[in-house]
Subunit: 470 residues, 4 copies
């Protein structure tokens, strides 16, 4: 009889019925090995009880029925995967139509991990957290901190956590102030009005045995005040970087940080500059030296330390590296092609005003056209060149418009998750909560939710009785 082939599965109170044969379709899973000897088999009602989500189970059972694993869209991805793991199923078997659902929460997880690392919180960490950061955890708990261990985190907070105290805020403001002054001085000292001419005595032989001398201007130097300003700034930078290095919780990570490297090199470049100038007072060609000082402008990036938004933006560029490469590569492809086309196009017919003397010159035109800047220093003059120009502009607009949304998407994901994160109470923000002090529900097995690797999944053990059973 039909009903004898059936099996009743009471999942969280909802009774699901199916044929026994259906459950055998996917072997080596929890449902394919059901026997009446199980503790959760109820002989009176002739049903198996599982303390799981009944709605999601409908989807799980459908996998047995149709052989196709679809994700439900009314529950969260991780919730479904936890259920799959409980039933001993492999979430990789997902159908192509659900791939996006399958990967979506993995992306979210990645995003949140990155945000955690970016350390966007603006709340003072507790003493314990700070001690853990510095590796003094044991000493802290035992109350055996050495004076240096006590003072180090305090200095660190002063210089690295502007929100931790008013003094820290003041130091942050000083740091930003010197940074801005240094960059401003760097820019302004190139302005003609800020430079003083360097005069040299030149002896000119004016006639027989007679020589006169005159002053001639060989080049200009920045006003001497800039030197004082730079000395002040660099004194502060030197002090700051030394202190920050000394109190860094992790000196290796500190040395690897891009911004610290820039800071160090920029400061060193100032001292090198100083030494070289002293030694070469007479050599007037300091342009080369100035060129190397270009590294100092990258101190701008030090300012990003104080803006979570900018840090997210930087992170976006890092995370979108492959899209950036794609964009640049596509632009180069287009630029080279259109430069060649316009070069030959402009030479096809008589064109006395031709500005495209070579393909390398055409490259600049193609860049200017594809990015729709259009300086107008080079323009096609023949109708054929104009057509190529029109195509080039269109291609450029598309080249920029098409891959950028992927980057925009990355940014939006980071930004909106950072936003969502900021709205939660601080203790809920960590993605991987510290297992030990779970606020409620301490009876939960730690890691019960972490989808175990299906290879390690011990089916025998878990078949003895329903999980979470006393």
């Amino acid at each position: 009889m039909d009903s004898e082939n059936r099996v009743i599965l009471n999942v969280g109170g909802i009774r699901h019925e199916t044929y026994k044969a259906t459950l055998k379709k996917i072997p080596a899973t929890r449902l394919s090995r059901l026997t009446e000897a199980l503790a959760n088999y109820d002989p009176v009602l002739n049903e198996y009880f599982f303390d799981r989500h009944p709605g999601v189970f409908a989807q799980v059972l459908n996998y047995y029925r149709t052989g196709k694993l679809h994700y439900p869209t009314d529950v969260c991805g991780p919730l479904f995967e936890e259920e799959l793991e409980f039933w001993g199923l492999d979430s990789n078997q997902v159908e192509p139509c659900c791939w996006m659902t399958y990967t979506q929460h993995r992306d979210t997880q990645e995003t949140l991990t990155v945000l955690d690392r970016l350390d966007l919180d603006t709340e003072k960490p507790s003493d314990e957290e700070v001690a853990r950061k510095f590796g003094f955890e044991d000493a802290y708990i035992n109350g055996e901190l050495t004076p240096w261990q006590t003072i180090k985190p305090r200095i660190w907070s002063l210089f690295d956590e502007p929100y931790s105290s008013s003094a820290a805020k003041l130091i942050a403001i000083i740091s930003v102030f010197f940074n801005c002054v240094s960059i401003l001085s760097f820019c302004l000292k190139t302005h003609p009005d800020m430079r003083v001419p360097v005069l040299h005595n030149v002896t000119v032989v004016t006639g027989r045995n007679r020589s006169s001398w005159s002053m001639i201007k060989t080049h200009t130097d920045p006003h001497v005040y800039f030197f004082f300003v730079e000395c002040a700034c660099n004194a502060w930078f030197t002090f700051e970087i030394i202190v920050r290095f000394l109190v860094a919780p992790n000196k290796r990570l500190f040395s690897k940080d891009m911004i610290n490297i820039i800071d160090l090199v920029a400061t060193l470049s100032f001292y090198m500059d100083l030494i070289l100038k002293e030694g070469t007072k007479l050599i007037s060609d300091s342009d080369l030296l100035e060129f190397f000082s270009i590294i100092r402008i990258f101190r701008l990036f030090k300012l990003t330390r104080h803006s979570p938004g900018l840090r997210i933006l930087m992170q976006t560029f890092v995370a979108s590296a492959s899209e950036l490469v794609l964009l640049v590569f596509f632009m180069i492809l287009g630029v080279v092609m259109f430069a060649t086309l316009v070069y030959y196009g402009e030479r096809m017919f008589r064109n006395p005003f031709n500005e495209f003397t070579s393909i390398p010159d055409g490259l600049w035109w193609a860049v200017v056209t594809m990015t729709t800047i259009g300086y107008g220093d080079m323009t096609p003059k023949t109708y054929i060149g104009m057509c190529i120009g029109a195509l080039c502009a269109l291609a450029g607009s598309l080249a920029l418009a098409i891959p950028v949304p992927i980057m925009v998407n990355n940014f939006t994901r980071f930004y909106s998750h950072a936003d969502a994160r900021a709205k939660l109470p601080k203790k809920r923000r960590r993605v991987h909560p510290v297992e030990a002090p779970r606020p409620k529900g301490g009876a939960l097995k730690p890691g019960a939710g972490q989808p175990a690797n299906s290879d390690n999944f011990s089916l025998q053990g878990s078949l003895k009785g329903p999980r979470n059973n006393a």
Copy 2:
């Protein structure tokens, strides 16, 4: 026996089953304190009855089972949070994968509150609403309005609610007309064709004891008609602002409104102008005065009072302030960096046509390039400068393209909600409905749906019997 450890929860007719141990996992909640003494325990069926949403409860119970709180995506966020609140659970415990769902309806709520404040409705409010707005509520209900209290709202409607009557519409049209005329006059009077030269007699000593005089043009003045036009406009503006101030329902709010401040300052600037010009008839340097009159152009913003779309756009800029700052900061960072690079880049090789004489000049080029304007007044001439230019253009496109979507998103949210709001009947548009006159279902406890702060949530009281039980 297995089934003895189980508990049956009849939620809205659907029976959910779980282990008693499962319910104990999250202590101090409604389900962890179930006892058979409760009024909603049915000893015959051995089940607890709760008159709640059965589907959502599956998700709630799953929180007990797995220790992880996921939001369902088939019901509205607020609905789920109301259920959570009923079951005594904390919605903050949400898993990271559901953070976006968690914050989404909070954003919606914020958006709707802002829209409510923007007062976009174009329907005449009832007399009672007006009276409440003016604080005459009690007097209105008792019918004891003084004549001024009767006339004040009428004048207010005339000047501030253009849709309320034909007269109000006429006044709005007059106001817009004078505004446009004033701005037009402001712009046109600078045009050379609209200015008359001011001539001065100058005595010229032409020879010994002989002097002749001639007329010389020192500067130009706007045509005198502009003065009459401005007098007319300002007369209206003065009248309008005085009346509007007198009948304003809330004089403090009125004085704080940006548009009113602009209006006042602009009108005052006209009178100051008038006085100063009278007093300094002989002083011809009225350019400085004109410069201060620049505030009058901001009267343009008065026009936004008549366009809901523009008001939403303005609100978007206000709400996106942090993104705007981010964008501007990022642009500055890029501009300074590329200006420096191009300045040194163009000086690296011999370049007789170098236009980058200093970094501050380079800043303008960098701005023009990053925004892809490309006036062409400065262009790099060496290959290295061109490469920097190409990178600058690319960086500029990205700098603009990446943070803008966040702002766009803000605008779209405001705009589409305003749109959705406009499609609803007026009485349903308020986000926080006035509690008293609920059209249907008067038996509902007021505020039953407002998610109570979980600290205040009195569990003892609500455990006595199921809520909503007679």
Copy 3:
């Protein structure tokens, strides 16, 4: 006892339970008036049976429980509204958080109605549909069509439905060809190379009693071949518009169609041109005439008749009129403000190369800068002007970027629905299916699904027994 206050509602086989008091909360609805006398009350099981969607009912019942109407997101909006209508509930009572869901399918409905009107189908309609279109329906069914009634739709198909036959396709190609030739001729005849100089004999008095004459070129005329080309084109256009008017199914709609009006005016302008030129052979100033002939360029829009994509694009502009107005208004606001600022900004400091001679000139600069065109014919020269320029460019980028997505959204909605529509079999494409010949399920009451206006909803009638009950 608790269970006596309860009521069981068997909705589609799923038993929902609630308190009787809960159902009374929203009066004058189907559930608030339940009595045991109803035909669908089962005294044995003590339950009321309703043959409705059980899942959606959970949401409906929750409205009674919480007094808040939330839309479920796992079913379609119209499906939920149909259920609401069955239960006698008002869908306007929706909570603010669900407003977007509430309006979404209304937007979809609007979109589909517009698409229906755009008539994008490229399949030959059946004879019956054609007859209905022409209003010959009765005659067609009775087989009593007059010869003109038989021939009219055929000619109409030839000229208006290019996909209906090869001849129709040929006529469409001819039409497009003449259109293109006409526009090409219109453009080319202004080119200097295509024009012939008009020479006049001028008698010059060279000396006493002696006069010579010479030829002088007063102006140029287009080559005479262009006249022949235009005659040919206009002959076709005249023929086409007359025939199309004669066979139009609805002459009033035909006369109102923008494209037909353009076509007519353009053709008339040619004839007027012809007459006037004949009459004024001697008057050489034909520029004015040519100016009026500008209407002919709008014949370009005739080409949109042959591209569904372009018609959707045009429709997008129509549907986005308010956003376009907003965009233009915002641009004007920005342009006027920045023109004023730059005018005064450039005059603040000594600036010998100032190009901003008046605010109206500044308007052009502001437009060119805000749209990021940057011709470079006017550029600020002082640092203050440059700062204003930078802000102007940024404001322009935002002004364009922020309202455009609303328009983009409109287009995407139209386009993707047109795409989805094209993938369905033709008979399923109509939004409002013709009621009579429903392919399956003829027993369904017509209009059962159309959400009746809740005012007309006759509750008494429908309470007699469950709808759809035999």
Copy 4:
């Protein structure tokens, strides 16, 4: 009695109830033909059992109740369609509000098929897969491969699968190197600094019977080193294309591949060039020859073979062909219209500096303005021309902004699916899995999930008993 008209359907354990009349509404379906003689009818419980998804069935049954087919949004489209197919319903009958849901997974399916064809995998295929690709499958299984059959796939892997081995990677690097060198040489040889003047002896008759000769420069030739470089490159290209052709698994597909055709033509053009130059040593006009060599620049597209991102981008353009046509057509429409308007606009008033001498010249201006390039080589000079310019810029921004998102959407769909695909284990990536070796659940009937064409759907057969029943 009411309950006698009812029928109970036990679908997967959940009991659905409805009226018998409801089931008759859609004839010729599984549910309309229910009889008690069916094997799955249980006379005790008076119910029919179906081993299907119970949640989805609620939606299916609702179709019977309301006559309207809505898609549920909590399950995947294909899952719902499989259920519809089981119940004998036609998924085409979907309501307009669900059209987007209906087409969405069809689009996904298309996208995945395209991605499969793009062959983005970077993992070495197994020997069996390679043999199947080459059509040696039978020989491979029997181990009877000829030496050529053994060596051919190896060489093919070397040249066409860079990730398969280090040698293959080396060959790929060589290929890219020669490609880059060839393109670089092509560009650089046009630069004046890289060209040597060609001198000719010219005999000049300077006086009576006296002649002298001088060298004159007629034109320039690229430096001879470029010739050697090109020889080397083309030698490699010749070798590469011959080898790749010989070992191609499918010579017909190989010959049809655009990139191979470009490669071949470019290589041939070099040889033709060589021959012609030899033959026409004396003819100095080699510009024409150089022009034909323009095909060589398209070798750039060979580089796309090595970048999955670029291949997706190319595919996007192919898939967005209709949108591109729409964009180009709309741009042309706008360009022609604004060129005409500005031409007449600039001539309306006296304008001595008019740069718009004809409409064809205006076309270039309109292109430059609509794409917001703005070279500044032509600008309107009158106020009316400026207004047209402002409108043109706005129209251009919209013309580009509105259809591009459709293309962006196509790209994002391709890109994100490729991304999702890359995260899955390789054997799950194929969209149409090979039927034979299904890893788990071998008992499933092959193709059970493929939605059968409803015409072929044999209802009689499937009514005998529930599918999947033993």
